[in-house]
Each structure stands twice: as structure tokens, then as C-alpha cells.
């Protein structure tokens, strides 16, 4: 299978620099497997490949005797296409690490195959908290976020900020139910109250009557337990009914910066959401994002892109430290070393594969507060790493003793 290969010039650069380690070079092959044409193409897609390349360059891998090649492919959000590519990459193309993989169904499939072949899977784009829970694997690292963290961040932080009565707008399928259940639990634990919920067909198109129910419930927060086009449609229609102007807050439980960008501030203003990364947080994120945007048609990185960058960086550190690419040794090293990068700050990879770091509650700015195209969020709260992710014992992962 001739998947589009992005052969990096890194090896050439290494030859030119005449590295001292020329004799014992380590060749690693990274596969960025994500959605390059569908719903998640904007938040992962080509941007994730760019992020991986930048990590290799910033790490100066070639100078350190690590020869990195990056390949990429489109899994079209279909698990059987994704798993075929993953198998082929591991069996035939010599890929060592698969990166990104948004869409939970594909990510779960790739995690299984990676375990079977004893390679490494570093996920950034998928949301399923099962990846480090019931379906956890010694070969998986889940870097950026999961649904538990989003539910927890948005739920608890909103209640603390006074949003103590909730109404859910839930997509009527397994994923929507799980998101609602997790968030409701967090809200109640934090002392809030769930006034009601309504389930809409998936995929939904017209949310007007559901939104009117939410509006008449008088809840302070309307939680959107859905994703993708359902969420953007609901937000759009909520703006049409002046729900946010009426004093209620909309909370997106799985909303990305690209969704907000597509909706525009006029429509999305006042929306509250949890993310792991925003380009305009500190010097480190701004510096990276500026360089990233130059190579990505002006679009700022999403948290998924940031996660790919940081995970490649951490992987390369572990390869350097173990002087090899043996999956078991590198995984052990990655879990042993604390993580530290300019985008996520300090953190660690837990035994279940979960990477823990701070999460942030953002609110979408009003148009008049924004000073530029990508000036979208203001930070409402920081959720410290220790509280941001599901406690190790609660996930049901069999690696946890």
C-alpha cells in the first residue's frame, strides 16, 4: 500500500551535519493516522503531521542519532479502514509508533492491534476514556484529553463558578448518554442539581424545541452532551433564541477550538468549555503556535495538534534515553520520566497510559472583546493535574494493582 509518504529530510540533514553517532543511528518510523477528509480533519488532519514534524525538528533528532521518518494516512473515521492501515503499517511498513487517531472507534481498534504487535500507540485526538480504562493496554498512551476530563472540568468548574442548576441536551446514543451520565455525576458531587434532560435524535438537525425546553427549565447551565455538527447546530440555534443573552450559560461537553472558530464569536459567545491547551496561554504556547500557523495556512494549533507535538517529543526523549526503540523499554521509560514540554508544562504518564496535566475551563469571548481572528477564549479556571483526570482506581484498568 503506497500511503502518502512524507519522507522527512531529517536523514539528509543528519548526513550533512556529520553526526558523531553516525555508526549507531536509530531509525524510527512514526505514523500519523487520523481524519484527513471528514469531521475531524480540521482539528487533527494535516496539522497533526506538521506538529509531529516540528517536534522532530525541535528535538534535533538527527543530531542525536535518531533518524525519524513520518508517514501519514487517512482513516476516514472508519474503524475497519483504520485497523487495516495500522496492521499494514506494523506488519509491512515497519512503523514503530502510531500517533493521533481521533474517533474513539478507530482508536480502540488501533489500541488492540498495537498491543497484539507490541508497538506503541500515542493517542491525542480520541475522546474515549475507555482507552485508559476498561480497554487500557501497556502499549497505549492517551495524551491530550478524554471525555471524563471534559465532563469533570466543565461540570465541577461551572458549579464552583455558580452554575449549580443544569439541563442536558443529549444525543441519543451511547456516547451522548455516557457524556451526560459522567457530567451529571460530577455536577451533583460538586453540590449542583440536574433539573432535567432531553434526548435528541442523532444526528439531529433542528434543536429548537429541545432548546426551548431547556430554556423553560430555568436551569443556569445547559449542557450539550453531543459532538460535532450536533453541537455546532445546537449552539447556532441557541443563539437564534437568545438563550445566552437571556442569562443561561451553554456548556459544550465536547467542543473544540475549531468548532468555535467555525461558528464565529457572534454565535458562540458565552459558551463555556474545557480544553487541554489554547495557543494564547503563555510564551511557550504562543511561540510554538506562531511557528505552527506559518506552516498550517495561518490556522492556530488545536489541543490535538499540541498533544501530537508533545507526545512525539516525549517519545524521542525516551528513545534517546534507552538508546533504542524496543517498545517495552521505551514505554517503561516514558512512564518513568516526568513529562515536560512548552505546551502542557509538567506532567506524567500514569501506569494506565493516561497522561495527566492541567486542564482549563475557557469561555468564548464576546466579539467586542476579541482583538484578532484567533482571539477566541478567556480562561475561567485552571483545573490542576491532580484533579483533572479520572482517579487511577476508578477506571477499571487491569494494569492498576
Amino acid at each position: 500500500m503506497k500511503l502518502s509518504k512524507l519522507l522527512m529530510a531529517v536523514s539528509a540533514a543528519a548526513l550533512l551535519s556529520g553526526g558523531a553517532f553516525a555508526q549507531d543511528k536509530i531509525d524510527v518510523k512514526l505514523g500519523v493516522l487520523n481524519d484527513r477528509s471528514g469531521t475531524y480533519a480540521d482539528l487533527s488532519g494535516e496539522g497533526s503531521v506538521i506538529a509531529a514534524q516540528m517536534a522532530v525538528e525541535d528535538f534535533k533528532a538527527a543530531d542525536k542519532g535518531i533518524n525519524v521518518e513520518i508517514v501519514s494516512a487517512d482513516h476516514q473515521n472508519k474503524p475497519d479502514i483504520g485497523s487495516s492501515i495500522a496492521r499494514q503499517w506494523y506488519d509491512q511498513d515497519g512503523v514503530d509508533v502510531i500517533l493521533d487517531v481521533p474517533t474513539s472507534s478507530v482508536a480502540l481498534a488501533v489500541a488492540d492491534i498495537t498491543k497484539e504487535k507490541n508497538k506503541i500507540f500515542m493517542d491525542s485526538g480520541a475522546g474515549s476514556s475507555d482507552l485508559t480504562g476498561k480497554a487500557c493496554s501497556p502499549n497505549t498512551v492517551h495524551w491530550t484529553y478524554d471525555t471524563w476530563a471534559l465532563a469533570n472540568g466543565t461540570g465541577s468548574a461551572m458549579v464552583k463558578a455558580g452554575g449549580d442548576t443544569w439541563f442536558f441536551l443529549t444525543a441519543d446514543y451511547a456516547f451522548g448518554h455516557a457524556l451526560e451520565r459522567d457530567t451529571a455525576a460530577v455536577v451533583e458531587k460538586a453540590g449542583g442539581k440536574v433539573l432535567g434532560s432531553v434526548r435528541h435524535p442523532f444526528p439531529g438537525q433542528d434543536f429548537s424545541s429541545f432548546l426551548l425546553q431547556a430554556q423553560s427549565s430555568g436551569a443556569k447551565v445547559i449542557g450539550l452532551a453531543n459532538a460535532g455538527a450536533d453541537t455546532t447546530n445546537a449552539i447556532k440555534q441557541a443563539s437564534e433564541f437568545g438563550i445566552v443573552q437571556g442569562g443561561q450559560k451553554l456548556a459544550g461537553l465536547l467542543t473544540f477550538v475549531t468548532d468555535v472558530k467555525a461558528l464565529g464569536l457572534q454565535t458562540a459567545q458565552g459558551l463555556v468549555l474545557t480544553e487541554a491547551f489554547y495557543w494564547d496561554q503563555n510564551e511557550g504556547t504562543r511561540e510554538f503556535s506562531k511557528r505552527f500557523a506559518e506552516r498550517h495556512g495561518g490556522a492556530m494549533p488545536t489541543m490535538v495538534h499540541a498533544g501530537v507535538y508533545a507526545s512525539v517529543l516525549h517519545y524521542l526523549k525516551a528513545v534517546e534515553a534507552t538508546k533504542g526503540k524496543d517498545a517495552t523499554a521505551v514505554m517503561a521509560k516514558m512512564k518513568e520520566m516526568p513529562t515536560d514540554d512548552p505546551l502542557f508544562g509538567q506532567g506524567e504518564i500514569r501506569v494506565d497510559g493516561r497522561h495527566v496535566h492541567n486542564m482549563y475551563l475557557f469561555e468564548v469571548k464576546k466579539p467586542e472583546e476579541s482583538t484578532g481572528d484567533w482571539d477566541l477564549y478567556k480562561t475561567v479556571a485552571t483545573i490542576p493535574a491532580a484533579e483533572a483526570f479520572r482517579p487511577l482506581a476508578d477506571g477499571g484498568c487491569n494494569l492498576v494493582k
Binding site: S37, G38, T39, A41, D42, D172, V198, R199, H200, P201, F202, P203, Q205, D206, S208, S209, L212, Q213, S216, G228, A229, T232, N233, K236, Q237, E240, F241, G242, T258, D259, A262, L263, G264, T267
Partner: protein, 295 residues
């Protein structure tokens, strides 16, 4: 709050309105299918893609040319209709002598091409299209809150559907059309250019889809995939109604929208499947469809 069968009245009316709006789209689209089927005897699988094109053309007119909603409501259907006529002339017309199933297969292929092209060009996250200023907001009717734009959608599609019915049943052009449906050779012999009539009819049916698309653009995100799921439901609507009658297609469309809306109130889990279940029942009881002519 007033309740009916334990359901808050506002929710009930809200869902009924919602159902009525969906019904408006079902009606407009199945009307277009019926018009095309009547003369060309093909099922136009491209209909969903053409509905999507209508929404996209409306969005493009606004984004690239600054042409607003009201002119787009006229222009976009014309553009989609003209594209449709070109497709009919170049491709579909080659199949009239063959089995009608080939028309279905051809238009299915065309739908794939159109959707694929739009996905390549615009991704699938969808574009937003603002509600025209004149129709934003809503009125409180006492028993429910009616968003103005929703009211407009129902009104506009009703007018278009009834207008189409009037044109086909009561005008001279409509008479030619009906005659050509019955016996094209004879009508051709009377000196009427039947191939032209066929092309225009296809263009008109497709324009109806484009019109529905523009109507939908401010409500739903403008998205390359917006037509493909809708069209299958519309097919079920067509099977239920039968394609023998223009008015039948319209009535069935609105009625099924309402039933779907009611289902959302009383048993939301079945909302996505209720139309298919009704289709199964109709097939058992009256295989030709409620308004159908053939067995």
C-alpha cells in the same frame, strides 16, 4: 405549565412545529422527486446532493459575492436547476431507452461525485449561514414561542408546493406535461418539443430541491453531507405516498413530518425509525402507496 398526557404543552407544540418544518422539507423534496418521476420515470438519487447544493450556492453567493438571503432564494434554485439541466442533457438523457433502474444507479453515482467534491472543497464541519435580519427573533403565541424563521419556512414551502400543484394541474404548460407523461410520442406528434419539456421538468424538480436547500441553510449548518441522510427518509415518504399524485406527495410529506414530531414527544427513541415502520405498514396494507396509481 399546562400538560397534555403528562407532556408539557410547550414541548408538545414545539415538537409539532418542528415536525411541521421537517414535513415542509419532506414535502418540497418529495414533490420534486414526484415531478421528475412523473415525466422521466427515474428516481433522482441526486436529489439530496442537489438540496445540499442549494444550501451551498446560497452560502457561496453570500460569502463570495455578498448576495443576501432574499436574492439567493431565487438565484440559488435557478443555478442548481441549470446545473441539473446540463446533467440531464449530457448524461441522464442517454438512459431513457434503458431500464429505469439504470437511472437510479447513474444518479446515485452523480450524488457520490457531487458530495465528494464538496467535501474536498469545504470539509465536513459545515458553514454557518445567518438568518436574515427581517426574520430573526420570534413571537410568543401564548401557547408557544414561534421563531419567525421557522414560520417562514413552513409558509414558503406551502406556497411553493401549492403553486407547483396549480401549475401542473391548472395551466396549459401543466397540461402538456401531463399529456407527455401519458404518451410522449403523441405529444411529440402535436409539435411539442418533448425532450425540451423533459429537460425543463428535470430542471424544475431539481430547482425545488435547491430551494429547499436555501430554506434549510439558516437552520442547519451548511454541510456536504446534509442531503444524503435526508434523501433516504424522503424515499420512504415517496413509497408511503406513492408518486401518482402531486398533492399526495405534499400531503404525505407534511403528515409524516407531524407524526415524526409527535413521536419525538411521546417516544423519542423511535423518532428516527418511525417513518420506516409506517412504510412497512403501508406496504402490507396498501402496497401501491396511499396515493399511488400502480400496483
Amino acid at each position: 405549565m399546562a400538560e397534555i398526557f403528562g407532556i408539557p404543552a410547550a414541548a408538545l407544540y414545539g415538537q409539532l412545529l418542528l415536525g411541521f418544518i421537517n414535513g415542509a422539507f419532506y414535502a418540497t423534496l418529495s414533490l420534486g422527486l414526484a415531478v421528475i418521476f412523473g415525466l422521466l420515470n427515474i428516481i433522482n438519487f441526486t436529489h439530496g446532493a442537489q438540496y445540499m447544493m442549494g444550501a451551498f450556492v446560497g452560502w457561496m453567493l453570500l460569502t463570495y459575492l455578498g448576495i443576501g438571503y432574499w436574492p439567493a432564494l431565487i438565484l440559488a434554485p435557478i443555478i442548481v436547476g441549470v446545473v441539473g439541466m446540463v446533467i440531464e442533457r449530457l448524461l441522464i438523457s442517454r438512459l431513457y431507452k434503458l431500464d429505469h433502474l439504470y437511472g437510479l444507479l447513474l444518479t446515485f453515482g452523480l450524488a457520490l461525485i457531487i458530495e465528494g467534491l464538496f467535501r474536498n472543497g469545504y470539509g465536513v464541519s459545515g458553514m454557518s449561514y445567518a438568518i436574515p435580519a427581517e426574520l430573526s427573533g420570534g413571537v410568543n403565541l401564548g401557547f408557544m414561542f414561534l421563531p419567525l424563521y421557522r414560520g417562514w419556512v413552513v409558509l414558503a414551502s406551502l406556497v411553493v408546493c401549492l403553486g407547483t400543484w396549480f401549475m401542473i394541474e391548472k395551466t396549459r404548460l401543466g397540461a402538456y406535461l401531463r399529456a407527455a407523461t401519458e404518451n410522449p410520442t403523441l405529444v411529440q406528434a402535436f409539435g411539442i418539443n418533448v425532450p425540451l419539456l423533459v429537460t425543463l421538468t428535470y430542471g424544475f424538480g431539481v430547482a425545488l430541491a435547491g430551494f429547499a436547500g436555501v430554506l434549510a441553510a439558516p437552520i442547519y449548518a451548511v454541510n456536504p453531507m446534509m442531503g444524503s441522510n435526508l434523501i433516504i427518509v424522503v424515499f420512504a415518504v415517496v413509497v408511503i405516498g406513492g408518486m401518482g399524485s402531486i398533492l399526495g406527495a405534499v400531503v404525505t410529506g407534511f403528515a409524516l413530518g407531524l407524526i415524526e414530531g409527535l413521536t419525538k414527544v411521546f417516544y423519542p427513541e423511535a423518532a428516527a425509525t418511525v417513518i420506516f415502520i409506517i412504510m412497512a405498514i403501508v406496504l402490507l396494507v396498501k402496497p401501491a402507496g396511499l396515493f399511488g396509481r400502480e400496483a
